[in-house]
Amino acid sequence: MQNPVRFLASSWPWRSLAYLVSGVLVGAATVASLAVLLIGGTLLAVALVGLVLLFAAALSGPVVARFERMRLRLVDHDPAPDPHRAPLEPGWRGWLAVRLREQQTWRELGYVVVSALALWWIDFAILALSLSLPVVSAGEIVVDPQVPWFGRIFLAVVTPVLVLVAAYPVTVWAGARAALARTILAPRDAEIGARLTEVARSRARLVDAFEVERRRIERDLHDGAQQRLVGLTLALGLARLDLPDGSPAAGSIDDAHEQATLALAELRELIRGVHPQVLTDRGLIAAAADLASRSPVPVDIDITLPGRLPTAVETTAYFVIAETLANVAKHSRAGRAAVRGRLLDRRLIVEIRDDGVGGADSAAGTGLSGLLDRAAAADGTLAVSSPAGGPTIITLELPCRSE
């Protein structure tokens, strides 16, 4: 228990008072609504309308719980995360389908019942007892002419003390009540879930930052080194025009020109590896077709998408396809490969298969472990099926969180 002066001067008594007062109001409203639903439901149960009312009463848990979690903010600095899963489909059907299967819904209904039968009555009783004493004693001074003068002085001293004392039971009960509400309405696993979400988010931010960095490097190379090299080959080409064929200077210039041209070709490939421009400009389908056209093994591309996907998803899918096709060319001895891509239920599914010798192993230090990491960083999964003798099928699944 802390220093009473500091406690009484803090906002806690007032927050607790607000918590209990709002508890009484919400409780009264809940009890009234439940009473209407239950009585009406029972009376009308013969007609089907009654069943709907009873059903609504059974599902009152999540509704009340939402209010309760909001009220918790009055006396609890930690946010109470909503433990419910988001419905997969919009509309009330999707909502019902998820809620009816969740254990949390029934925990909350239990809370509503306990709250209606006991908790809010206790709120009311604590408030009434704590506040009635100072109110009565203050009332005595004002309205009762029978009280002698020393009685008045006594009451005038006692009333503020009673007000101060009342702060204690109110705060203690509010604290207990809040702890109970948190235990039932915002269980620990939801908090762990929230932390995991935060970790996933920060990982996604890292991936995005990495992507931005790659683009910056690509831009710098393109605007700097590449332009200068092209300028150099141009200058050399012009200089060469002024030299007679067969002169020693012409030979040297030709050599320099050739070196610069080779450097340009290498730089071009390097830049493509850092960040494929066509992916940014035209999206995954065009970029995959581009990869296929460079592959020494013939590749059939069959990707259908409703439109552009989030950048992180496109990038991850692109690099997985690129590295897989490179592996196919290096290790598989395949005669053909195929890439299929579809968007199903807000998940991008990419399947890359080849008719090679199989035996690809993610533990054998091929590029596969890197691909697994790439998929994981984007919250996705990568499945490899590669029996000896083939075929090898690599399936990438990525959630498309909307941006």
């Binding site: 025009l241 340009l264 066509v278």
Partner: protein
């Protein structure tokens, strides 16, 4: 040595890198062409074309403000309103999508798509400018290579020599130029071309330009 000595052209150059822009202007002027405007972004390019009505536009694919494919989009849009405008597009690296979009604009007449590196091969670059300005089609050998590798199966029926000839034809070269490159007679080239078109089930065509388009259309399949 230039393939043909054409009339001097009025050129608009669009390239955001200052160094390269100056280089291109110097190169074109060195070969007797006039650069009527040299600009650094797609908006200025459209304005320059409207003001000067040039014979040919030489443009970089990637330009401000977005540094994606503004240059390409700008020339495709310009050609939609001026079908006769010749354009030579320079690209950082070969992308089939870009090549396809260009070749699809006004059936590919007066269109060139080259890797930026080719600027350094000065005489070939100037040849390409002249050819495109004359209504021809020039496609970078890299694009042709990619297209060839994509349609491997029927191409197996071609002899190695025929494949060489096909690649050069797809780049938009005339029989004369192909003959000079491969150091054989023009008659031999004409025979090869006839045999290639037959093997690929393409209609015979005497006109270089129509032939290039047929071959490219086939390769893009």
């Amino acid at each position: 040595m230039p393939v043909r000595v054409d009339r001097p052209l009025r050129v608009v150059v669009a390239e955001d890198a200052v160094l390269l822009r100056a280089g291109l202007v110097g190169l074109l002027e060195r070969f007797g062409h006039t650069v009527v405007a040299a600009v650094g972004d797609a908006t200025a390019l459209a304005a320059a074309v409207a003001t000067h009505e040039p014979d040919i536009v030489v443009a970089d694919v990637r330009m401000p403000p977005g540094f994606t494919d503004e240059g390409l989009r700008a020339v495709v849009a310009l050609r939609a309103s001026r079908p006769s405008l010749a354009v030579l597009v320079l690209s950082q690296y070969v992308e089939q999508t870009y090549a396809t979009e260009l070749l699809d604009s006004q059936r590919g007449a007066g269109v060139g798509y080259l890797l930026k590196d080719r600027v350094g091969q000065v005489t070939q670059f100037i040849d390409a400018v002249n050819q495109v300005a004359a209504g021809g089609t020039v496609v970078d050998p890299e694009v042709v290579l990619q297209l060839l590798s994509r349609r491997r199966d029927p191409l197996r029926r071609l002899t190695a020599r025929e494949r060489e000839v096909l690649a050069l034809a797809a780049e938009g070269r005339s029989n004369t130029a192909i003959a000079r490159t491969l150091v054989v007679s023009e008659a031999a080239i004409a025979k090869h071309i006839g045999s290639i078109l037959a093997k690929l089930d393409l209609p015979p065509a005497d006109d270089d330009h129509r032939r290039v388009l047929a071959v490219l259309a086939y390769l893009r399949g």
